[in-house]
Amino acid sequence: MKQLDAFVIETDNLSKSFEEVHALRAVNLRVPRNSIFGFLGPNGAGKTTLMKLLLGLARPTSGSGTIFGLDIVTESVAIRERIGYLAQQPRFIEQLTARENLVFTAKFFFSGPPAKIRARCDEMLELVGLSDKADRPIKGFSGGEKQRLGIALAQVNYPDLLILDEPASALDPLGRQAVLDVMARLRKHTTVFYSTHILDDVQRVSDTVAILNRGQLVAGGPIEQILRGTEGVVYSVGVKGRSDGLGTRLARLPWITQAMVAQRNGTSVWQVSVSDEKTAERELLRQVLADPSLTVVEFNRKRYDLEEVFMNIVRGDGHDG
């Protein structure tokens, strides 16, 4: 059965053009079930367009896509039955209170019994910490409260997939943290697919990431894999003393692919790229210490942060283009 597939969202060369502008170009995306999938990209990369295609709010120019194995064009209503969506700027019926908005939204999915619908809405208000403001009109809500209410509205049907478009981008640090906390709480219930350009948020809550740039998917995978960077495993070795011969010696080792040196405050810092991680773990430090004239002052595996990886990928993609 398709519902048991490992991927909730699958797209096949999904493309969207607006006259001469190619907003999305042949995107092949796989979103694993029960993941928090961070969808990254600079402004204008095509993130919102992709979400709208998935929701049936726009139609692809070419290519196809499925959610839960259902076609995003022909079976859109059945898909929306099982998803929750939060737009970049969430909208509500402004004249209604938070609770009334929740009941209204719930009625797209359920017809009763009223007491149970109300209980579900109360539970959602509790989830996003708005129980004390349940009966206040939305007009007086702050940006963060509106965003949290938007998540409650998106979650009211217990969706199998939650699609959030920039859920925290317009919020102050406290509001952002509150939204990320809610997302983390939802992790065990649903798959969360969200777009953002705030890399710090992604690193905090996501387990899988895709990077979209200028309408193309340029990288994707588990976040640990992405954080390894595009250069493979790299060790950073800082030594004091004359290290001229070190490069020649390292270059002879078959599991070392590249060794580059830079001077920093009287220390030679070597960036050593390796092809065999296990051997490197065991042997690299020994190889360096084999020269008694050298003193090792630092030795660690290079860790990328997401921002560094993102900038490398996006800039590299830009130069290629």
């Binding site: 709208k52 929701l55 049936g56 709010l57 726009a58 139609r59 209503v77 059945a78 929306r80 039955e81 969506y85 737009a87 700027q89 969430p90 909208r91 509500f92 019926i93 004249q95 209204f104 939204t105 009625k107 797209f108 999915f109 359920f110 017809s111 009763g112 019994p113 149970k116 619908i117 209980a119 579900r120 539970e123 049907n157 217990y158």
Partner: protein, 276 residues
């Protein structure tokens, strides 16, 4: 925690998924706010007030009428009723059309601009259901409050002036024509809301039809047979039992009905294609 299995699934058929909830929302915008009584009071006050002035206060037009005209009407009271009901039907049909356009011009583009339409359509909602909810939930209060309520009061005023119940059948026929004209402008405005992105063209096209249609029909007579532009006069003549070409009346009524249906059809098709 309430599991989904404990809740009953929404009951709308797949073809109109989301209709009942959207209908409820649109209806609340009328009946759940002050909008219904403000409009009921406004249109009844304006139309019935003007009609009452013509019926009960000394009227220049009646004084100036020739004996033949008065005799044709069947006496001074009958002639006064012609003049009074002319205000209600001929002027009223056009005034209500303007009111309908003003009240409904924002129904679709307002929600498209604000992002509410996008939000609603991200739920399990058929786009046809969205349009049908707009049409039905707004037609009901517009017809009841703008046409029905003033008509009931005007019937009472006319009967009072006549000293006996005003003939029901012609009066109801006139009200029916008034309702059809109002329905035409509601469907036209909703259709324009799916075709254009700003209020300017919606108001421009609809008001040009109301205010300029009669003038244009004067130059190109067949237009009177194929548009609602003759309906204000047809409504008055019918309500007061005056002679009117049956072919022209039928043609204008059928044409208006067909146009209205076509507008709804175009609105459904256009909204189905709209991207967000």
């Amino acid at each position: 925690m309430t599991a989904n299995a404990e809740l009953h699934k929404a009951r709308d058929g797949q073809g109109l998924r989301g209709f009942s909830n959207l209908f409820g929302k649109e209806s609340r915008a009328w009946w759940g706010t002050h909008r219904w009584w403000v409009n009921g009071l406004l249109w009844t006050g304006v139309l019935c007030g003007l009609t009452a002035i013509m019926l009960f206060l000394p009227n220049e037009e009646v004084f100036a009428a020739s004996a033949a005209e008065v005799a044709l009407a069947g006496g001074e009271t009958a002639y006064t009723l012609w003049i009074g009901l002319n205000i209600f039907f001929e002027f009223g049909v056009s005034l209500l059309a303007i009111g309908t356009v003003v009240l409904s011009q924002d129904l679709i583009i307002g929600e498209r601009h604000s992002g509410v339409a996008e939000w609603l359509l991200s739920k399990p909602v058929r786009r046809h259901a969205y349009i049908w909810a707009k049409v039905t939930a707004n037609a009901l209060p517009v017809l009841l409050l703008l046409v029905g309520l003033p008509s009931i009061v005007t019937y009472g005023i006319a009967s009072l002036r006549l000293g006996m119940p005003f003939p029901v059948r012609p009066f109801l026929s006139g009200v029916g024509i008034m309702a059809l004209n109002t329905w035409f402008y509601l469907s036209l405005t909703l259709m324009l809301g799916t075709l254009f992105n700003s209020r300017g063209p919606i108001l421009g096209v609809a008001l040009a039809s109301i205010l300029g249609g009669g003038l244009l029909g004067g130059f190109i007579e067949p237009l009177f047979w194929t548009t609602p532009w003759m309906l204000p006069k047809v409504a008055w003549l019918t309500a007061t039992g005056q002679t009117i070409s049956a072919e022209m009346r039928l043609s204008a009524l059928v044409a208006t009905t067909v146009w209205s249906a076509a507008f709804i059809l175009v609105a459904l098709m256009q909204f189905e294609k709209t991207e967000y």
